[in-house]
């Protein structure tokens, strides 16, 4: 009996009666009022300086924030364009090259993944609506949903696996990590032309390119406008100019927290039970490269948000230090977590990212006039 939606298994919606078993209905688009921001999971911020914004009710337009305009124009949009382009190229390549051993296909996937790492920090708005971030990049998969769901998917008649059918498929079989499993996991990668797996590679890639377009278009259009016009009538998502800054700053810290807690914390596990097999992209041997790519994304966003040169310099140094720590670790798939010496080095790397987070909080938070806040930090 299935009692609730396990996101990775199937997509359910609506009410669930406790008692009788029910099927796994597939859902349509959900209504979402595009007025507020989807906040990232970890941090919350509140204005450091308290002063009421008298204009919230009168709808007087607040002046645009050059910091926010700059980071959207110079960082966010170019990165979203790049991700849209590389996922489109991946979908195109998959049309002609679907086999796991295809070097052009692997290269196209790797480029899309690299470009994803530059945008995964934008954890608000279009990337969060309808859970798109999970559809693009469902990881970690600690419960092992993906292999089971993927096995079911590729057993389907190839003609039934389409970009359209993927939109209602479980998120564990969508996106970059599902393609990675098909390309690199020996349980799947031995497929032939005209197989379900071949159809799946094409369909997942096309669906991924569609998602990339939706996210880019959202930032270029409605959501970007909402973020650029805080405090205007009808904008209840961003009530004053401090709030878009806070949202981006929080997104940055949340994403860095993901590196610390999941990319490193996952395989580290505990001393008694390290989990080396939980290293991200272990089979494609990208674990450490992903961390470096993620750091590039954080740095681009952090520097883009920095309102002055001293802040940029301080942050550049902090990022360079963290990057040097990563580069010095000669353990591309973090396998060392299972032995005491290797574990010590991965823990040291985790500490350097914690230090980086503290430096961002100490430097960028005050520079933007934001700090950590109340409700989402600790619950009750």
């Amino acid at each position: 009996m299935r009692l609730f939606c396990r996101l990775a298994c199937s997509a359910l919606t609506g009410a669930v009666l406790l008692g009788p078993s029910f099927g796994t209905p597939v859902l349509a688009q959900t209504a979402s009022t595009d007025l507020g921001q989807s906040r990232p999971p970890v941090a919350s911020i509140a204005p450091t300086q308290g002063s009421d914004t008298p204009d919230a009710r009168s709808g007087t337009a607040a002046a645009g924030d050059p910091v926010v305009d700059h980071v959207i124009d110079a960082v966010i949009m170019p990165n979203l364009d790049a991700f849209a382009a590389s996922t489109a190229a991946l979908a195109q390549t998959a049309q002609t090259e679907c086999l796991a051993r295809s070097e052009p296909l692997r290269a196209a996937w790797a480029q899309a993944f690299d470009d994803w790492l530059m945008i995964e920090d934008y954890r608000l708005g279009p990337l969060e609506d309808e859970g798109r971030r999970y559809a693009i990049a469902y990881w970690p998969d600690a419960q092992g949903h993906r292999p089971r769901a993927l096995a079911r998917l590729i057993a389907t008649a190839p003609a039934k696996i389409t970009a359209r059918s993927m939109t209602t498929a479980p998120v564990s079989v969508r996106g970059l990590y599902a393609i990675e499993a098909l390309l690199f996991d020996p349980r799947f990668s031995n497929y032939t032309e005209n197989s379900g797996a071949c159809a799946a590679i094409r369909a997942i890639s096309a669906d991924l390119a569609d998602l990339a377009d939706i996210v880019r278009d959202g930032w270029a259009g409605k959501f970007g406008n909402t973020m650029r016009t805080p405090g205007t009538a009808g904008n209840s998502r961003f009530l004053d100019a401090s709030e878009p800054r806070q949202a981006l700053y929080t997104a940055l810290l949340s994403s860095l927290g993901f590196d610390i807690d999941e990319r490193l914390g996952g395989p580290l596990g505990t001393f008694d039970t390290p989990r080396p097999k939980q290293a991200e992209s272990r089979l494609s041997e990208r674990s450490l490269d992903n961390l470096l790519g993620a750091l590039d994304g954080h740095e681009a966003l952090a520097l883009g948000l920095s309102p002055d040169a001293p802040t940029r310099e301080t942050l550049s140094t902090a990022f360079a230090n963290a990057r040097a720590e990563i580069a010095a670790l000669d353990d591309p798939i973090l396998a060392g977590v299972a032995d005491p010496m290797g574990r010590f080095r991965v823990e040291a790397l985790q500490s350097s990212l914690l230090q980086l987070r503290r430096e961002i909080e100490a430097t960028l938070g005050p520079a933007l006039g934001v700090s950590m806040g109340l409700n989402s930090m600790d619950g009750d």
Binding site: F4, S32, G36, R39, P47, R237
Partner: protein
């Protein structure tokens, strides 16, 4: 250890106490909310439905929730759990009227509610040694004298609501906590429930979650039409699971859990507040997730109606045929039929809850 069964209905309104002022004298607030001031201090505010702040009283520490007397301009502010104190405030004069301290071996654990037309205050408490739930009974007329306690019929009760028929609905969160540091002690074996209890403490009805959802802590309650009780949950299980966070129940019927499809994951497995309103087009239930910066609306049949995004949103209460919501960025937002409208952006960061002064 059996709780006293002296019923809280036995209380009578004070006859000998000094005349007290009604809420009109405090500016006719509709809601209470705890807040953090820009200088880091804490206060209890009275708010109107339009988001105006009509009074505020400094609090000695961060507050969690409050309860307002049904007639007098008098409010109880509870410390964050596990709470060693609550204070009764005169919302006109700003004075502390009484300080409530739970008896030895008990701590406050969240919310409280006035019953018996204001003659009695009930407080969610837990036993220090094992988090067994108790509902403290305080005699308001006798200067908030402790009258006794009844069993909450679960571990770690957090929210209490008083149904129109006099029954109490109690959210037993199921989590045993270390009273010093809030460490959760029983996540693997927790068993939350929604208990219906009468004035003597007798258990009338109890809703438990199915086995694979027992790590879903039932924490907050809202009352709807015709005995409907909505409950909001916080997931303590594996992060990779995405359970429902809203339950709907009427005594005598099967409980129902509701979820939001692909949006569900964005709630970050955490619902901070719940409210039910009549709605412009039928009754609506809403839950907030400060971690997700998200409010989800449902019909009272559990159909997902849509999402509203707002950073750090948590406080939520019914307002007319819509809702009033508050957040840690100082936003006060009116919602009607899913359409948000900013009422104010204040310097105060609004804490967990908005408490309506004249509840359904």
């Amino acid at each position: 250890m059996r709780a006293t069964r002296r019923g809280f209905l036995a209380g009578l309104l004070a006859t000998g106490s000094a005349p007290a002022l009604g809420w009109a004298a405090a500016g006719s607030p509709g809601y209470l909310a705890a807040a953090q001031e820009p200088d880091g201090s804490y206060a209890l505010y009275g708010l109107t439905e339009a988001g105006e702040r009509v009074f505020h009283i400094p609090l000695p520490a961060r507050g969690h929730a409050g309860a307002g007397h049904p007639h007098r301009a008098e409010a109880v502010a509870f410390a964050r759990r596990p709470g060693r104190f609550a204070i009764v405030l005169d919302c006109v004069g700003g004075r502390v009227l009484h300080s409530l301290t739970p008896p030895e071996g008990r701590v406050f654990n969240g919310h409280g509610v006035y019953v018996d037309d204001g003659a009695t205050l009930l407080t969610a408490e837990q036993r220090v040694e094992d988090s067994a739930g108790r509902i403290g009974v305080w005699n308001v007329a006798a200067g908030y004298a402790r009258r006794g306690e009844i069993d909450s019929h679960g571990i770690g009760p957090h929210d209490i609501k008083h149904l129109p028929d006099g029954t109490l609905a109690i959210a037993n969160g199921g989590i045993a906590t270390d009273v010093e540091d809030r460490e959760k002690l029983n996540i693997d074996t927790m068993r939350p429930n929604l208990s219906y209890v009468d004035a003597t403490g007798a258990l009338l009805d109890q809703v438990e979650l199915p086995r694979d959802l027992i790590q879903n802590s039932i924490r907050h309650l809202a009352l709807g039409p015709d005995g409907l009780v909505g409950f909001a949950m916080q997931w303590e299980g594996p992060k990779s699971e995405v359970p429902p966070l809203l339950g709907l129940h009427r005594r005598g019927s099967a409980p129902m859990l509701a979820e939001a499809g692909p949006e569900q994951v964005m709630m970050q497995n955490y619902a901070g507040s719940i409210a039910i309103t009549d709605g412009p087009a039928g009754a609506e239930v809403a839950i907030t997730s400060p971690r997700g910066g998200l409010l989800h609306r449902y019909s009272t049949e559990g159909d997902f109606l849509g999402a509203v995004h707002r950073a750090d949103i948590c406080g939520l209460a019914e307002a007319g045929d819509g809702f009033l919501a508050s957040d840690g960025l100082g936003g006060l937002i009116a919602l009607r039929g899913g359409q948000p409208r900013a009422l104010a952006k204040t310097a105060q960061a609004w804490d967990n809850h908005l408490v309506r002064l004249t509840p359904r």
